[in-house]
Amino acid sequence: MTRRVLIIDDDATIREITAITLTHVAGYEVSAASSGAEGVASARADVPDAILLDVMMPGLDGPSTLAQLLDDDKTRHVPVVFLTAKVQPSERARLEGLGVRGVIAKPFDAMQLVGDLNRLLAW
């Protein structure tokens, strides 16, 4: 069965490239949301197998979006991986402590992204 991944990122080109990567390279089924609120609504309506979540976003940021996902019985079990341009070790440790499967730093190589994601999700 095809794995389904939800991408939540406010940057349109990053959504587009990530979606193409996961579709063409990994063969996943991908949906995308441009804000935390839209992503939470999308995940509740159609629960994905994993969520790739941007950290810095206007309105509902990554950690707040994660909190809402963890607070909902329907989405609590969905593994989340942060995608972030915040790469300082202290930031990374803070994000990893929030209850995600892992953190992938931007910029990423398309091929590397798939490998990292599969490793973090044990797919």
Partner: protein
Amino acid sequence: MPRRTPAPYASGVPDPALQLSPSAGGRPDLEAAELWQLLDDAPSAVLLVRSGHPLLWANAPARTLFGSADLALTGRLLTDLMPTLKPEDLAGQGRRATDREHVGGRRTVQAGVRADGTRFPAEVTVSVTSAAGADFLVLVRELDTGPSDDQAELAALRERTDVVFDSLAEGVLGIDGSGAVSFGNLAAAQLVQRRRTDLPGTPWHSVLHGDRCTLDPCALADPLALAGQTISPVELRRRGGGTLPVEISLRMLRGGDGAPGVVVTLHDLTERLRMEQLKDELVSTVSHELRTPLTSIRGSLSLLRAGAVDPGSEQGRRMIEIATTSSERLSRLLDDILDLGRLQAGKVPLSISRQNATTLLAAAAQAVSGSAVTGGVLLRTVENEERVMADADRAVQVLINLVGNAVKFSPPGSTVTLAARREGDRVLLSVTDEGLGIPSDQLGRIFNRFAQVDGSDTREHDGAGLGLAIAQGLAEQHGGTLTATSELGTGSTFVLSLPAAPAR
């Protein structure tokens, strides 16, 4: 007819229960008035002082010595007469008031100042006269100027040292071998929020961590063991509540008797830590802004390189377009960062010449027309005859930033108006939008180059927020200004004021 000397409190000042008890100890029973007469006739200068008040009384020799006929030396303070006399010289006496062995006074050498400003060395003895320790008799004896020059110099040196000591921005505390504070300057008193006169005798650890240190044992409890070290940051528990980050340096200092002690300097780290935090946030923001287009470039090129996307396909062309526009965005960002650095250093070369205001506005409108069309925003440039003195490229750069922002924050169907008008020796180039407006609490800081720097995960707008800071810097390098007014729900107007070109 006996000569009557006015009593010190005759002028309606309440009697401070002067306790000179002439009948005590088997001495002759004297009337108070006789006592005052005796004091007035005494060969030494005598001053009656109440802590924190102007002089209450001065006997005849004192009035002669200090060169004033007035009994209270015209309301002068003891410290006016003897600037080198420190409050602790009195406070120390006050604390000993109950110890009868010490109520004989303490002799020190001070510098006296006469009414005409001349100085003289003086031996000063302070004695407590009231049980509360608030009233003092101060005996002043002028020292011979000849052999006592050294003492006067010593007093003057002490005064100079105290002035230097108190003018230091860093706190300085002297700690004796028992761990008690022996002296402290003004800055130290302010840092620990204690009165300077309360510092001597207070345990060092109590000054640092208050009465209830949560660390047991506390590594800072023994200052002598820390001599030679610099420790940072140390959390200073302030008496008024809260804590203050400080750096402390401890150096060994032996007293005149050879007893070991330490001198501690306290340096307030608040500002340094704030700047470090600001720098970290700036690095984090700039890093984020650089990494975002870099992600698009790397992502799209890696898809093409791996053959995951055919370069000749529509998707392949889209990847190339994304890589191209992202590299342009990256290039603009680097230009902005370099511009900001050059502006801060005042190294942006300007080629100032006479320019047509309408031409500058039209060039900016032209540059932003693409995004205006995309956003459904109408750009209207009002023709005018004004001429300014400006570097055309840099003035247009500022206007592009203003018009670009106006378009970005304007709803579809609205108009952005570009105009210019003369005001005195200035020409005001304005960009007015019909957007949501800027809240008044944010209007004051939108030009601050760090205003958009936000270390949090929530970013309201794209971009490093350097555009307006650069625009304002460029306006100022022209000898102009950049200002903004706004009304919520109505829109904003940004005004670039430039020097008007002289008439031909």
